[in-house]
Subunit: 495 residues, 4 copies
Amino acid sequence: MYDFNGLNEECGVFGIWNHPESAQLTYMGLHSLQHRGQEGAGIVCSDGKEFVSERGLGLLTDAINKTKMSHLQDYQYAIGHVRYATSGNKGIENIQPFLYHFYDMSVGVCHNGNLINAQSLRQELEHQGAIFHSSSDTEVIMHLIRRSKQPTFEEALKESLRIIKGGFTFAILTKEGLYGAVDPNAIRPLVVGQMPNGAYIIASETCAIDVLGAEFVRDIHAGEYVVINDEGIRVESYTEHTNTAISAMEYIYFARPDSTIAGKNVHAVRKASGKRLAQESPAETADMVIGVPNSSLSAASGYAEEMKLPYEMGLVKNQYVARTFIQPTQELREQGVRTKLSPVKDIVHGKNIVLVDDSIVRGTTSKRIVRMLKEAGAKEIHVRIASPEFMFPSFYGIDVSTTAELISANKSPEEICEHIGADSVAYLSVDGLIDSIGLDVDSPYSGLCVESFTGDYPAGLYDYEADYKANLSDRQKAYLDQNKQYFDSEGNLNV
Amino acid sequence: MYDFNGLNEECGVFGIWNHPESAQLTYMGLHSLQHRGQEGAGIVCSDGKEFVSERGLGLLTDAINKTKMSHLQDYQYAIGHVRYATSGNKGIENIQPFLYHFYDMSVGVCHNGNLINAQSLRQELEHQGAIFHSSSDTEVIMHLIRRSKQPTFEEALKESLRIIKGGFTFAILTKEGLYGAVDPNAIRPLVVGQMPNGAYIIASETCAIDVLGAEFVRDIHAGEYVVINDEGIRVESYTEHTNTAISAMEYIYFARPDSTIAGKNVHAVRKASGKRLAQESPAETADMVIGVPNSSLSAASGYAEEMKLPYEMGLVKNQYVARTFIQPTQELREQGVRTKLSPVKDIVHGKNIVLVDDSIVRGTTSKRIVRMLKEAGAKEIHVRIASPEFMFPSFYGIDVSTTAELISANKSPEEICEHIGADSVAYLSVDGLIDSIGLDVDSPYSGLCVESFTGDYPAGLYDYEADYKANLSDRQKAYLDQNKQYFDSEGNLNV
Amino acid sequence: MYDFNGLNEECGVFGIWNHPESAQLTYMGLHSLQHRGQEGAGIVCSDGKEFVSERGLGLLTDAINKTKMSHLQDYQYAIGHVRYATSGNKGIENIQPFLYHFYDMSVGVCHNGNLINAQSLRQELEHQGAIFHSSSDTEVIMHLIRRSKQPTFEEALKESLRIIKGGFTFAILTKEGLYGAVDPNAIRPLVVGQMPNGAYIIASETCAIDVLGAEFVRDIHAGEYVVINDEGIRVESYTEHTNTAISAMEYIYFARPDSTIAGKNVHAVRKASGKRLAQESPAETADMVIGVPNSSLSAASGYAEEMKLPYEMGLVKNQYVARTFIQPTQELREQGVRTKLSPVKDIVHGKNIVLVDDSIVRGTTSKRIVRMLKEAGAKEIHVRIASPEFMFPSFYGIDVSTTAELISANKSPEEICEHIGADSVAYLSVDGLIDSIGLDVDSPYSGLCVESFTGDYPAGLYDYEADYKANLSDRQKAYLDQNKQYFDSEGNLNV
Amino acid sequence: MYDFNGLNEECGVFGIWNHPESAQLTYMGLHSLQHRGQEGAGIVCSDGKEFVSERGLGLLTDAINKTKMSHLQDYQYAIGHVRYATSGNKGIENIQPFLYHFYDMSVGVCHNGNLINAQSLRQELEHQGAIFHSSSDTEVIMHLIRRSKQPTFEEALKESLRIIKGGFTFAILTKEGLYGAVDPNAIRPLVVGQMPNGAYIIASETCAIDVLGAEFVRDIHAGEYVVINDEGIRVESYTEHTNTAISAMEYIYFARPDSTIAGKNVHAVRKASGKRLAQESPAETADMVIGVPNSSLSAASGYAEEMKLPYEMGLVKNQYVARTFIQPTQELREQGVRTKLSPVKDIVHGKNIVLVDDSIVRGTTSKRIVRMLKEAGAKEIHVRIASPEFMFPSFYGIDVSTTAELISANKSPEEICEHIGADSVAYLSVDGLIDSIGLDVDSPYSGLCVESFTGDYPAGLYDYEADYKANLSDRQKAYLDQNKQYFDSEGNLNV
């Protein structure tokens, strides 16, 4: 349940080429991607000559209000972005898309994900006299493009994409075309759709395509970029060094349940993972199954169906955001949790419960939920996690990049069970996860990026390597010793 | 699914007496009641001497920001309100609680529900020289109290409560005490809880009690009022002419699923109604059951369990509010619906579906949902409504007060089925509803107010009578002819 | 210099009947009256059927923004108000015009001035059951009108105007007409103008007439009211108990220099008062004359011309408002004054200066200015005040209503000279003031209200009497003993 | 009168080193410089380690509110800026100071004036891969500094200052020191002051020094820069190619009257120019002298004194800003002017008037004022301009850079007289201006920059040359043919 456990999403991008309502469609597309970032949003539009930009902090509806939208009418080309800050601070200067005016062209650019060699690239560029105006990775690629000696924008883009490392997608708008790009592992997703009027769109998730009534065209694969212009659509590769490794996290909790990634619907994957979890770790004494809303409900219903147990609403999530400016006293802090999530006493009282959650990151929220349910009268609580133990940090666009934050880096399931006060705790196996998702790609882990469960980083570690290795816990080391690693620290396949 | 069908909720009230964190607790309580009103919110606080007030338009977090909250520190007594405008226009002057400063006392007052004789009372009062500053019913009771010749505030309140008609609850704060009152039919709910420190609270729903970690004390019954002051708590009756008739709508979709009304948990009632609906109207050819999120999910899971069908997420609701300032072209309007609710193609494609919804009011949303699902590839769609046909307007605090709005006032289920493009449509019976809720009160309809399904108005019609009777449709008339009416137009039991 | 000495202005009113641009003209009229009130502004418009209202806190441009103005298009009738709070607190609920919707009519109403029997009237009305929603005097007259048994609105208005006491003007809008009224002493001004298209306007000052390119029609005199409707314009008297006593303060510093009151231009009066002051109290050793900007510049140039001395800019007023949220340390507080007013070192250094100011109320600002000029190198500073000693509080709409605030209530000019560190201090005589203004009305003080200089209150004292008399200083008592008082405490002529 | 004639000021800069209240003092300093720019304001602070920035659009009080100021507490070093956009568009991204975070240092930088070779420098830098984030000249110098190969920041700054051309001052803050710099002609002013606690400040005008209670230390001269750090203050030259040419416009209308530039007080200069104008062009038939408020009042009083005519307030300026969102109909547009400036009928009626203004740029405002005064009854109007004919565009930081805007580029005084409807028009001579200012510098024009009156550009023309020369009018050409030009197009002295 990503709202509570500190796993934050990593931005959504959107782009559209040649539609008279480009800004409105971008707004609607971003709205459907809002779950990927709530800290800021922006839209860059163009009519092929002029480029305009609006952006702001907070949710889309706050960031881009009616007045701002009125500035974006009558443009046919647009890209947009919703932002969660995985890198860069939270000021307005980091809200994307960035719009650059050069003497020879204008460029709008935004991205999703995290560059793991951004820090070394920035330092090198600054040393050469470059001036950065934000702490965003997005600016790095713009500098690379502008310093490239390649004869065309497309060639300069390709060259730049080969220099950066990590998990990323880009949406770039010039008056020549709309460009989308995906990292060499396809860690972060990007899809292409087509509007009824023929206009092409690109988006981080298929839900944006569906919301607009567009048709799904294709996924952009590892190491590919797409060029959309008045001549149509063209997909190219900028590198041959690719290993498909789609982020399993997208399936587990980032993506919207109605999205489909690499042909697999997210809700269906989650429900399947719940069923597999029931097979792997049945809770025999249970009276009912409840899920932690919203992201774990699919898995919970799968678990319930497999176990033939009632699926109940034992926890209610307040659908209204609670701002954090009320600083309750220590006495009131516990109630503060309940403003987000409430147990349903009359449902759980006296019952043995299977509590399905999608993950445990720090363990603090799980502990609170278990306590709330027990206080509400639940007899037994069997925690079932619809993903493997979250043992390793992620550097590819998820906001968990230090070992110290991860309870599973140091505690076994049994220790965690005791820590959170549950009656049992069990996790889905890595194989169970892979099977539930059901990709059939000829790459390690069937084409998934499962670095947080295995410590195996398909795009390598780069700027993060030293710090990561210096802070490995005993439990992490033990795991790494016992399990095969497919990738080295530069993301090459180990032989 | 109340966000879409025009059934809007009718406000929530909260009050607390003698707690050092009264404003914060009121804020948290109101946050848990936010589903009852999103157009405005306010808090009135007192320390027994001074009274202060903060209020604003929109959601609680917008209406009462950090600065406003900082003005409400260090008060021990508070009432609060979240508002949906059933009567009165939408200006800030109608946002409650109202705070009145008189030469001899100050009074904070707010209410939930609708007074059906407010218009005639206002006119009479204005004729006597009274000046109203809002179009809110709340002001009427204040004028009645101030013009009463009774010797005490409590007596004046009692006298005034006997004059007003309709479905209502009040929360009133003076430096002498916190008062809560419930209409003579208990149409609208009000409950009492107690904080760990002994402080009493009153609230529209038990979820506010649970969120604050308080203990449920009791419901306030028909025709009762509660006085909370430094001497403790005292519940009295202001009238003996009572007939318990708790709004069935609260169970069907107003209340939060974790709330308990008159001893019946809302989620459990909804799930039971889904099961009963399956027994009454099974869809034999169906492959799966889906519910319209969020309010129909409990009923849908009940239907699925009873039918032993998979319960799937075939519709996804965007958890982020979409502001309405984007006025899409006609071409984009259809997509506009999808920004709120999306079908999950990969789930519904090629399937026979039971679509469970809590109600059909105007039919427009149902039509859109059915079309969306068909466009997404659903084969058959069997609509199952977890409440009876919504044939009659409501005047007791629900925003459906004209016959013309109600599709069931003019169309049979078969006609509606054709209108919305479904393969079958069936409703829960009135008896099925009553049984699913399971009250056991010795009053008509076992103590429920089911006026929208039966045209039987337990609190009478008063100012609405002439217009209501003049506009009855043939279908309504036919129903009324064939079914016994327990109440006359003044709310007395027919004999 | 009213910005600094605590003499605050007392609101401005405006009204227009039957012009297609009524809201815009009201906005422009209020802008020209902005100096009369900066705490809030509002406009009520009507098209003869609907009434709409917009208002807000702060300067007109903040209070009524573009969006609000867009709500006021297409109305032909309007009144408007800029507010300084002489009574009532500063909340939005006190911003005028108030707009009342009754079952039988709507009324917009605003006023300038202060009712001195408002407190006793409120208490009496509340005792009868009336509910007040603001602390503004304006509401009192509305209650009086609504409770009147008179057969017409105009008769009810007349009756109400006879009940209230003090210095006031009203602008009232109904669908029947636009009404303006002036107190029985004409303490506060109200004028009528006519637009090129024939539409009549009313305003607190003639500058509003000039700014709109309208023609001046007439002043509304003591005890008169004006009715403007589709039949034209009609001026009537509501009382025969009148004594003209126009506020001398309007000439001295409230009104804009381009305004003309009772036929006397304000700048010309001020310049004449400066000349008379030079005759009465020449500063023989002076090298130059400087005025305290902005309100004292006219008087200073008059003094300079009469003395044949150079008129110099020795003080510069920052034309930009400095908000008060910077709370400088004690060390910085002195600099804080300079952010409003700066001495011009190169002008004043080594010079003997006549410093002309319009008044000394508390003396704190004069002290600071003298010190600033001395620090800037001025040799001698001869303070000349272009009005008499401000010895008595004012209750008729000026924000100085307690004796304790007034330095002249306790100190002689010599003591004040020492207190503020000047080399000499002299005031204009009462006769000098009366002659400079030059009214020729057959009433005490030639038709002026000079209560602050003489303790002679033409409209009486009413609710203020007890407190005023209990707090008289020895110096005030001595003055009253030695000078004839024309009026008794109910405003009747002493015989 | 700069508010009306389109002559807009060109920003103000401020800096302070080592004062515990650095942000507050910067705020107060900027407030005194507000007349130099009202489109935006910003402050950058540092404590020697961290750098923080706040900025915003509009007046200082809007741009930097209470919350923003609270972020700037507890810093000892600060620079600030008020902005009028002479180049660059009006977005927030152009509001200065700019704050740059590099891997090796942070730099805050802001500037006043205009670089005339910025466009060619930008293009060259972009061609080398530089990315600009604003359209501001300020960014150019930052790129130059960062690309410099000089070993120290100070050397890099010197090198960069030698590359840029035009009229400019800079304030730059690093953790090493506070830097101020002035262009090689000292066209734009910069002064140094010292606070009572010893802290040094720099500012565009001395009024900022006076307002803070600081002592004036010295002007920064042509081609100098100042370094203020913990070792004290040090003034150096970065070039020997200097020709002092202080902008005469600063005296004529930009600077505040209490400021002193190069030893000459602005008010005194203006008054002297009024006297000289009376000697050169007396209006023999006049009854009185009036000035266009506010900037022409000093000159008008000088003219009146010299002519021994009364100095009257014949025009009143509304001290409150009127926002422009009211778009009056054509009929109301004329009234719109009066919302800013009103004639005082009772003063001007039937009189022969000398109307003193500081300049005529486009002539539109003069025309309106003359008409207003005539409509108000003035008999004769003799326009006297306290500066020479404004014949040539300015490129050094004034917002008049095209010939087409200048009425004097095409019309003689007689033609202008007829155009604006006056009875006579006369200008101060160039010699009269130079004498009134009274500098005694051994440079052309006694050390003044009078390019707008002579077409003689001391800093050259650079990027503006081609366009300027292509658009010269016949009247301009005739003037240039008849008058000696001291400077060539690169700013070198002609020999």
